[in-house]
């Protein structure tokens, strides 16, 4: 199978800040890759380079066989982009926005109009089709923006943090929509800060930090690397923390973290349910009053801590400021 996206040694600097530091990866045709990382890791810069919005300082990349620099115009007819900030015109209606995009893909007036109606229906926006986007909710805006990326039915799709800033319900709805898209067989590159989002939508996840790829694999492979699940235990009194730590230490497979202020202990374990049963069993006779105990999947913070040895740091704002 050939690669729909290839990147070799991409470098992009904004003054002092290095947004991309020799990033290399490829995405086989018909698969979905999620770039996972905190703000400022270089995810958006990667998407901007691959969609020809930004020229890399070094390295080369191709999308659908077209070079991002030399073959930019042709490349653009093979991609759809939906950005972090909904790139739609507020004063235009949903239908007008999509029709305009269709015309700019050179689908022709009639086909653009038909395609707009088709997508509005598919994204459940028919009722709002003829209202200016200005009055849309955040979720509706994201949907119309996503629809804009699909107007020409492009073989390669880029979604840059598609659900950032949405409430949980709108996020779940958008996930359903994206999953359906992906089932259609196209190639998808998605960026996200959320482990669960990457997990839910992508075949493969690549963890990015400081403009470099630091790990790649399926969601389960990555989670295993960071110690599978975690036990989180909260006690009632600071005096009980020491006893609790001793009980928890029996099942720990990695570094234990204690937050005295919130009386909480967190520890990575392998067999989650069994480990939790053991811990609670050991604590039963000690007089420690357990206020809360539970299993939790690793978060992005856990992945970061384990894979990079430091907390997620640096923000998009810093990178963007440096870009000015």
């Amino acid at each position: 199978m050939s690669d729909a996206i290839t990147a070799e040694g991409l470098v992009k600097r904004y003054g002092e800040v290095t947004a991309l530091d020799g990033l290399s990866f490829s995405v086989p045709q018909g698969t979905m890759l999620a770039l996972l990382g905190p703000n400022g890791a270089g995810k958006t810069t990667t998407v901007r380079v691959l969609t020809t919005l930004l020229r890399p300082d070094a390295g080369r990349a191709t999308v659908a066989g077209c070079d991002v620099v030399r073959d930019a115009r042709r490349l653009r007819s093979y991609i759809g982009l939906s950005g972090q900030y909904a790139a739609v015109d507020e004063h235009l209606t949903g239908a007008e926005n999509l029709e305009m995009v269709g015309r700019l893909y050179h689908l022709g007036a009639k086909r653009s109009r038909a395609r707009a109606r088709e997508l509005l229906e598919r994204f459940d926006l028919t009722a709002a089709a003829d209202r200016p986007v200005k009055g849309y909710s955040g979720g509706m805006r994201r949907r119309i923006d996503l629809a804009g990326a699909l107007v020409a039915d492009p073989p390669v799709l880029f979604l840059d943090e598609p659900t950032t800033g949405l409430d949980p319900r709108a996020r779940a709805a958008l996930w359903d929509t994206i999953s359906e898209l992906v089932a259609g067989g196209g190639t998808l590159l998605l960026t996200t800060q959320y482990m669960d989002e990457a997990d839910r939508l992508a075949d493969q996840i690549m963890v990015v930090d400081h403009g470099r790829a630091i790990a790649r694999g399926t969601a389960d492979e990555l989670k295993d690397q960071v110690g599978g699940s975690r036990i989180e235990l909260t006690v009632s009194d600071a005096a009980e923390l020491e006893t609790a730590r001793e009980a928890v230490a029996w099942v720990a497979v990695g570094a234990m973290r204690t937050v005295p202020e919130s009386l909480r202990i967190t520890v990575p374990v392998t067999d989650g349910p069994e480990a939790l049963r053991q811990v609670l069993g050991r604590l039963a006779g000690t007089g420690v009053r357990v206020r809360d105990a539970g299993l939790r999947r690793p978060t992005l913070d856990d992945v970061y801590l384990t894979l990079t040895g430091h907390q997620a740091s640096g923000t998009d704002e810093q990178v963007r400021e440096a870009a000015r």
Partner: protein, 267 residues
Amino acid sequence: MNALTLPIADGWTIARRNALKIRRSPDMLGGVIMLPVVLVLLFAYVFGSAIHVPGMSYREFLLPGIFVQAVIMSAQITGYTLTLDLQKGIFDRFRSLPMAPSAVLIGQTVSDLLMNLAGLVVMAAMGLIVGWRVHTSPGEAVLGFGLLLLFAYAFSWVTATVALALRTPESFNNIATMVSFPLVFVSNAFLDSSKLPAPLRVVAEWNPVSTFTQAARELFGNTSAALKTSDAWPIRHAVPASLLWIAALLIVFVPLATRLYKKAVSS
């Protein structure tokens, strides 16, 4: 589509988008339609009762000047709209599409030209109501409006350049106001510039606003033998001088704006 038809077709799509936007923003449309009405009434009745020009009514003298002023004001919408769009993600969308990059500015300036045309129509109607008349042939009158529209189009590229260099609506508005007021007032648009003190007179004579006003006066026949105009070359040859100005503005500012647009959107 080839390299020539692509920018035109895409530019038209963008122009249609802008026309829809204008229709949906009553404030912008109100500005373009109401501003000329207010200007005509204000100058015709307030200045008109205090200023007298020899051999003709002040209102006939005034209207071509108001036309030029309105063109300068309306052309600023081009720049202002671009700064607003720069703040949003819409240019990212455009740049990820297989469209001609130049189409964004072409479309913007073309739709603003249409808006300027609407403004001129309203203003001419207002002028006719307060007593302005065309004394030349219909052909010359059409040339007069054509010249004003060409100036409007060329000036749109100037405001686009300024906007793409400054990039925020606030700073653009400040600069635009600071430059356009002296430009319009130190000219022959509202008064007989030959009466100004020497340094101001020279500035007024070579000010393009004076050139366009004089050209419009000649083409509409709003001149008087009793009114002694300046001997400066651009006033004596106002129509060819206006065409030269238009050509010069386009030659300088179309490439400049295009370059600044690429720079503004690729950071």
